[in-house]
């Protein structure tokens, strides 16, 4: 049980309504599996805190198999009504931005305030949820819409996300399994094998490129950091060559971030946005990032060499 449980219940409720709607969409050829997908997600979100983890795990595998075999299909989307849009644009003009801007403003204000009392991550998540609720209330009042309509529109966006929605969650699962299986130690040893340890620049390059490579595999620079830093940075660069640790690890982490830009394993940054923008190519965002990430990684290697040995 965490302070975030009410958020998960809200999310579960949204998924439950999506399941209900999917179950009634007669024209959908994958009606049963789509409804089951949303219903199972609703269950693991609502009951995850007290269900035995093995049961949750089994349901998650089922969810992933449904998604993985193409069992999730969106219902036919009612096209947006151009007359309605034109009318509200004419009536409200720039005031339409107000609810959209309320989300970040309320979120940031409450997150900064909440940090004084609770853990920063919890504070920002609760603040974001509150921001959404405030914006939704203002939006419904301003647009004279029933909240039910907002939920229906959300279903359309959930359909657009489809399997991409659960990818970040199954990747978190994969990260936990990789950690348990000791993938990190093997990768660190692999990186460590080829380094001419007497050459400071080679060690710098191995640390920075190793952080990027490991992040590409794990999808998360935070997972790569302890392994690569304990395996390469501390013994070789700090211990043997006398690098300054503060700047060294900061630039190491940022090299990992260059890897984050390059990998489908960082799904919440790279794949989910592609789905959210309804792009045909789910790797389009990564393709766009390659030419920024690679020069930046090279810059990081140079910065690390000159700053950590200043």
């Amino acid at each position: 049980m965490t302070g975030l449980s009410p958020l998960y219940w809200l999310i579960a409720a949204l998924f439950a309504t999506a399941a209900w709607r999917a179950a009634r969409a007669r024209e959908n050829a994958r009606r049963a599996s789509t409804a089951l997908f949303w219903a199972l997600l609703a269950i693991v979100f609502a009951a995850g805190d007290w269900m035995p983890h093995a049961v949750t795990g089994a349901l998650v595998v089922l969810v992933a198999l449904i998604a993985g075999f193409g069992g999730v299909r969106g219902a036919a989307r009612t096209p947006l009504d151009p007359a309605r849009r034109a009318a509200s644009v004419a009536r409200l003009g720039n005031r339409l931005f107000l609810p959209a801007l309320l989300v970040p403003l309320v979120t940031v204000a409450l997150a900064v305030l909440g940090r004084q009392f609770i853990d920063a991550q919890q504070a920002s998540l609760l603040a974001l949820a509150t921001g959404c609720a405030v914006a939704l209330a203002v939006g419904c009042a301003m647009l004279r819409e029933h909240p039910r309509v907002a939920v229906r529109e959300a279903h359309g966006l959930l359909d657009a996300l489809g399997w991409a929605l659960v990818l970040p969650l199954v990747l978190a699962m994969l990260g936990a399994v990789f950690t348990k299986a000791g993938v990190g130690d093997v990768v660190a040893r692999l990186v460590g094998m080829g380094i001419p340890v007497g050459n400071a620049f080679a060690c710098v390059a191995a640390y920075a490129l190793g952080m990027a490579a490991f992040t590409i595999v794990m999808g998360n620079a935070f997972a790569a950091f302890p392994v690569m830093t304990a395996g390469v940075a501390l013994p070789l660069l700090v211990g043997r060559h006398g690098a300054e640790p503060g700047s060294l690890v900061a630039l190491g982490m940022l090299s990992g971030y260059c890897g984050t830009l390059l990998t489908p394993m960082a799904a919440n940054f790279n794949i989910v946005p592609a789905a959210l923008l309804e792009l045909q190519d789910k790797n389009a965002v990564i393709r766009m990032q390659v030419a920024t990430a690679l020069p930046l990684l090279a810059l990081n290697v140079a910065l690390m060499y000159f700053i950590a040995f200043r």
């Binding site: 998924f15 995850g48 049961v55 998604a67 978190a172 348990k180 093997v186 595999v217 900061a250």
Partner: protein, 225 residues
């Protein structure tokens, strides 16, 4: 120590390369890696369940969908496009670089949730960029539009990643500080965060060149205009 744990990594790479569904690839690799590592099936399911429960916060974005959907139904994109359509000085390059600068600066002050793909990219930045590009180059064909939208998402990522690490109370900075402390190196957090600044500036400059190039070349219609 054996090399067997790498089999899971290999499965992921092969699966992604052969374009199987990513969710399927990840789950199969997870199960295979767990079993190779000698976990009992029930133990493995429990590990999967536990990590899923802990990662549920990643799904918080769905709470944004009702308001975003409601606003789009009522013409938010059209209004965003109209606004940019009137602002003649706002080119695609200026819009994206302005967004990048604001995203980097606010993230470096710890205000991460001021932007994001569901909050700002889909409802605001993307339609604005489309409007700016359409004014410069005429209506976009689907291929160029897709690239422009991908660049909007990429710009948000670059701004967030290479801003947040400059904030001294950012979780990542505290993680590095704690890790160094465990290894007997005591440092104030700002002495780590400070060294995020050169890369942040580099990220802005490199991405600026890319955006500029993209707006000049890639957005321009093919063939003689």
């Amino acid at each position: 120590m054996s090399w067997w744990p790498l089999a899971g990594v290999a499965l992921v790479i092969v699966g992604f390369a052969l374009r199987f569904n990513p969710v399927l690839v990840v789950v199969v690799s997870g199960i295979a890696t767990g079993l190779i590592a000698g976990l009992a099936p029930l133990e493995l399911l429990a590990l999967i369940g536990e990590s899923f429960v802990k990662a549920r916060y990643l799904m918080i974005l769905v709470l944004l969908l009702p308001i975003v959907g409601l606003l789009e139904r009522n013409g938010l994109r059209e209004q965003a496009q109209a606004l940019i359509g009137r602002m003649r000085r706002v080119t695609t390059t200026r819009l994206l670089l302005g967004y990048l600068a604001v995203r980097q600066l606010t993230s470096s002050l710890g205000l991460n949730s001021l932007g994001g793909h569901p909050q700002t990219v889909r409802p605001l930045l993307a339609p604005m960029a489309e409007a700016a590009a359409a004014r410069e180059h005429g209506a976009l064909d689907p291929a160029r539009r897709e690239k422009l939208l991908a660049l909007c998402a990429a710009t948000d990522n670059v701004g967030l990643f290479f801003g947040e690490d400059v904030f001294f109370a950012f979780g990542g900075v505290l993680l590095m500080q704690a890790f160094l402390a465990e290894n007997g190196i005591e440092l104030e957090a700002w002495r780590i965060a400070l060294w995020g600044i050169p890369t942040a500036i580099g990220a802005f400059l490199i991405h600026a060149v890319r955006v500029h190039w993209f707006a000049r070349r890639a957005l321009r219609p093919k063939g003689p205009a």
